[in-house]
């Protein structure tokens, strides 16, 4: 679509509301002025699509009422896992483009169609040749008494999650206990919100008015299976539960909810996830067609009833429906941009496929999940014990895949969803049995099949990227096509296609470690083991090129440590070590270090505590108890490290590995020695394990835990190896981790005695060290093994690969050659030389360090404090008055 000169140059009401933006844009007669109302995800995609294809004549005014750059709302929940608002920001280049003016934090208040202008709340008036409405939705609250008490939240914007988090922290500090929370609404969003609350230590219940969770996507049996999974995660679920009133205390803080059946529940915080309402008020005010159930009515070209106004994203109503998913919004953005650029495009209708992003809970629903097509057949696989329910919906001749539901194991989602509408190719059951996702091949996937629904990337586009744009791995395809760049659920699928295409052209998917080594970590491990080489220079001369980098050097440091058992700072080893291993302490943000004395199993004597206290006091260190049952001392300077270690060594401590890709700690509960419930000596075992595996270098960090009974106070199932005592012996769990994608460890073996347990852990750890990829934690590692956990049992207990002797010997060598790395450093003047602060002033402290006091302890001064805002700061060491 092009605009005529007359329509472009109109300036009807310029006298009334003088405006820098509108005027500036009308000066050049060839410009096309676009106004975009709303700066959310879909607006951002529109901008990107228009600007990447359009020329300099396009002038866009983007108006968004959130005081931020457009951000990734789909990833909002990762805020609670530590993503900062900056991390969530979408590609800034499109907003910073010189053709764009961004009115951030301003709201479009009115559309004047006659004058072709919009007016914002702050009084700016902007003329448009074409207006795009991308205002999204409001998060709805329940229309019951008390919906706006303090402590009631919605879950839509960064502001929402920031205030939710702040409230939970403040309120639980006030009450002196963890909070009890309620999420009202058991859909996708509600479950995500419940996961987030749980992460804030809130004891959480999801209240759902219908008879099952995710009722828009799941049938009853799937909803029931999901419920069991959610409850197993420690989140309570109440279905057919209708909230009628929210109660507050005298200060207006929410304290309880009342349900239709008269029951009452206590709560300290409420999150509403009861659906969204399109923000169509601008369209109503301008008398555009609005659907009776809400949403600005659009046609397949995304045009509203005024052809000079488009609507895209959640605010748009197509075919009687608004949809709260980002993929259809992106498709609309592409259509609207293409149309403006003069191309032909039509919105094909909604794809309602979704996958839940709650970690540890696999749920996906796609295509005709409810088998509404006439004559549709269901194929169902259910394993209630494993918490798995899978259903495929097929056409009446059982040949064409129409849709499906996957609960408990959604690994097949990536390969199945693109097949919707096409031939299933093979026995449907093959896709449903446990390894279905892996077995399903992508070879027959038609070029037109949509692989990445968020960014509308087809299998054909990915193939072209490989063959014509020279992409040889997933990340290249991702930057080239955007496949997998949004929700990420298709990444495995993309990887398979890239691998298959490369194989066709005789190449293979690159598993190269970095530009210096063509080998993967695992191959390099074998190469070093077989060749017997023992230095980096020799290995890179033989198997690599160049002088290495911060990727391959630490990997080789780890491999050489396992295979030769030499000290991390011996000779050339010292040049390979990553950040913390470099000086055997934890680097902190200002360049100082923290020291964490090893306290095996968390067991420490009063004398030991006094020593640590004295060291911290004498060196002016900030102290904090860690999550691994140790004490961390912060603010040590490079040149102080040996002095600190000396004091610790003299008192019978060693420093500890609180860093590096190595064994960190073995956490334990107090066990049967003291606990009324304990059935075995958890501390004794933890001490034994920590002393056995300390110093073991591995592909990623390793943590262990031991609990004295099934109550699991040591949270051992959050560890790579978790040991839980039973009357019948030790149960061994593997593959747990915390962090960004927390995982619960799964049972590997039951009822082991002490020796059996040690052998099993020895082999598990060594097999992992021998074969895992760089930065692959134990869970994804064993899942990718042939046969998964059963395959692993075969290797460890039945010696199916005939490598147990090797594994045992490697571990025996590790245990025998372990030395206190810090003491060894103190004993070696060559190594000690490296701890000089400056080569020409070995004991002069880094003059840039500055500290200030907070709660009676030192902390690094902020930039503002350094610039002299009157806060007392001290260089290097701070006297803290007690």
């Amino acid at each position: 679509m092009r605009f005529t000169a007359t329509s472009r140059k109109h300036n009807a009401d310029e006298g009334a509301t003088p405006d820098a933006y509108g005027n500036a844009m009308t000066t050049d007669g060839d410009d096309t002025r676009i106004v975009v109302a709303g700066a959310g995800m879909v607006a951002h995609r529109f901008l990107e699509s228009l600007l990447s294809r359009g020329g300099p004549e396009w002038r866009v005014t983007l108006i968004g009422d959130e005081p931020r750059h457009p951000y990734d709302r789909v990833g909002l929940t990762s805020f609670f896992a530590g993503s900062s608002p900056d991390d969530l920001e979408l590609e800034r280049a499109h907003v910073d483009d010189e053709r764009v003016r961004f009115l951030r934090g301003d709201t479009v208040a009115r559309i004047d169609r006659a004058a072709s202008r919009v007016t914002t709340r702050s009084g700016v008036s902007v003329a448009y040749d074409h207006l795009v409405l991308a205002t999204g939705s409001y998060a709805a609250r329940l229309a019951v008494d008390g919906y706006d008490h303090d402590g009631c939240f919605v879950y839509r914007t960064l502001d929402d999650v920031e205030s939710l988090e702040a409230f939970v922290r403040r309120r639980s500090a006030e009450l002196g206990r963890p909070l009890v929370g309620t999420v009202i609404g058991g859909g996708l969003l509600g479950l995500e919100a419940a996961g987030a609350l749980q992460g804030l230590e809130v004891d959480c219940t999801v209240v759902q008015s219908s008879d099952r969770l995710m009722s828009a996507q799941l049938d009853r049996p799937a909803g029931d299976a999901l419920r069991r999974l959610i409850e197993a995660r420690g989140i309570r679920v109440e279905t057919e539960s209708v909230t009628t009133r929210l109660d507050a205390d005298r200060s207006g803080q929410v304290i309880g909810l009342e349900f239709r059946d008269g029951t009452y529940a206590q709560t300290d915080v409420v999150v509403f996830t009861v659906g969204v309402r399109p923000r169509d008020e601008l369209a109503r005010g301008a008398e555009l067609d609005v659907h009776p159930r809400g949403g600005v009515v659009i046609d397949a070209a995304c045009r509203t009833s005024d052809p000079r106004i488009s609507a895209i994203g959640e605010v748009a109503n197509f075919d009687g429906m608004c949809v709260g998913l980002v993929a259809p919004g992106y498709a609309m953005a592409e259509v609207a941009a293409t149309r403006l650029l003069g191309g032909v495009a039509a919105f094909p209708g909604y794809d309602l496929s979704t996958k839940l992003k709650l970690s540890g809970v696999d749920v996906a629903s796609f295509g005709d999940a409810f088998a509404e097509t006439s004559g549709a057949l269901d194929v169902v696989y259910a394993d209630p014990v494993a918490g798995v329910y899978k259903k495929l919906v097929l056409s009446d001749d059982a040949k064409t895949l129409l849709g499906g539901i996957l609960v408990g194991d959604a690994s097949a989602y990536g390969s199945l969803r693109p097949l919707v509408g096409g031939a299933l190719g093979g026995d449907p059951v093959a896709y449903l049995v446990p390894s279905g996702g892996v077995a399903a091949s992508t070879g027959e996937l038609p070029d037109a099949a949509l692989v990445c629904s968020c960014n509308s990337v087809t299998a054909g586009t990915i193939r072209t990227a490989v063959h014509e744009q020279g992409c040889t791995d997933v990340s290249a395809v991702k930057s080239c096509t955007k496949a997998g760049a949004a929700c990420g659920s298709c990444v495995m699928m993309v990887k398979q296609i890239v691998g298959a295409e490369l194989a066709k052209s005789g190449a293979a998917l690159s598993t190269a470690l970095c530009e210096h080594f063509e080998l993967s970590r695992r191959e390099l491990f074998d190469a070093v083991r077989v060749s017997g080489l023992s230095t980096f220079s020799a290995v890179i001369a033989r198997f690599g090129t160049g002088r290495g980098c911060d990727i391959c050097k630490p990997v080789l440091a780890s491999i050489l440590s396992t295979l030769t058992g030499t000290h991390v700072l011996d000779g050339e080893n010292a040049t390979l070590q990553d950040t913390n291993d470099h000086v055997m302490a934890n680097l902190q943000k200002d360049g100082s270090y923290s020291v964490v004395p090893r306290i095996p199993g968390g067991e420490v004597t009063p004398e030991g505590l006094l020593v640590i206290g004295e060291v911290a006091r004498d060196f002016g260190l900030y102290t904090k108890i860690t999550g691994g049952q140790r004490i961390d001392m912060f603010g040590a300077r490079l040149e102080q490290l040996p002095d600190i270690w000396r004091r610790l060594v003299d008192a019978g401590f060693e420093s500890g590995h609180a860093y590096g890709k190595s064994l960190r700690t073995v956490k334990s509960c107090v066990g049967s020695t003291w606990c009324r419930f304990g059935v075995q000596d958890a501390v004794g075992l933890a001490v034994q394990l920590e002393l056995r595996y300390r110093g073991l270098r591995s592909p990623h960090k390793l943590k262990l835990g031991v609990s004295g009974c099934a109550r699991e106070c040591a949270e051992a199932r959050g560890k790579d190896v978790g040991v839980i005592a039973t009357e019948a012996g030790w149960n061994m769990y593997i593959g747990g981790n915390g962090g960004f994608t927390p995982r619960h460890a799964v049972l590997l073996a039951e009822g082991l005695d002490d020796d059996e347990l040690l052998t099993a852990i020895d082999r598990f750890l060594m097999y992992y060290v021998f074969t895992a990829d760089r930065l692959q934690r134990t869970a994804p590692w064993f899942e990718a093994l042939d046969g998964g956990i059963d395959g692993l049992r075969g290797v460890i207990f039945d010696d199916r690969l005939g490598i147990c002797a090797d594994l045992d010997a490697a571990m025996a060598r590790h245990v025998d050659t372990y030395e206190d790395e810090w003491r060894a450093t103190l004993d070696d003047p060559e190594k000690l030389r490296r701890f000089a602060s400056f080569v020409n002033a070995p004991t002069t402290p880094d003059p840039s360090l500055a500290y200030t006091a907070e709660r009676g302890q030192p902390r690094p001064a902020t930039d503002a404090e350094r610039l002299g805002s009157g806060v007392p700061i001290a260089g290097t060491t701070l006297e803290v008055r007690r």
Binding site: H516, G546, R547, C549, D550, R834, F838, V839, D846
Partner: protein
């Protein structure tokens, strides 16, 4: 930044037995004080510099101040190469810098910022740095 072997004519006075700075070249340490591919920090007046002795015997000096983390840690980074450029990776957020020019070769998604560099001369066993950064 560059290496000048001792036969190369240096600034007047360099290469003599004096350990005093001559013109603006400052003797910082001996080559033997450095270790191949493991950096060392040094004080140069008020500035903190990071010295790197490479595999091929060259010595480079860049600022020890990491502009991304705003901490003086560059000397503690891993030395390596990108194609034929010698590099150091900051130990803090892993931005990679060209040791010869200070240019940032891998910004880890941040805005490019580079490290100031200093001319270096190796005179026999001594390492000399010109005290005006480039």
């Amino acid at each position: 930044m560059t290496l000048m072997d001792s036969p190369t004519p240096l600034a007047p006075g360099i290469g003599l037995a004096s350990s005093e700075p001559v013109t603006d070249w400052v003797r910082v340490c001996d080559v033997a004080d450095l270790e191949v591919e493991r950096g060392r920090a040094a004080l140069l007046g008020d500035a903190q510099i990071a010295l790197f002795l490479l595999h091929d015997g060259r010595v480079h000096a860049v600022s020890n101040f990491d502009p991304y983390s705003r901490a003086n840690v560059i000397s503690r980074g891993i030395v390596g190469s990108r194609a034929d450029r010698p590099t150091v990776a900051s130990p803090m957020y892993k931005q990679v810098f060209d040791l010869r020019t200070g240019a940032c070769l891998d910004t880890q998604g941040k805005e490019p910022m580079s490290l100031p560099t200093w001319p270096v001369a190796v005179d026999g066993r001594r390492v000399l740095v010109q005290s005006v950064s480039q």
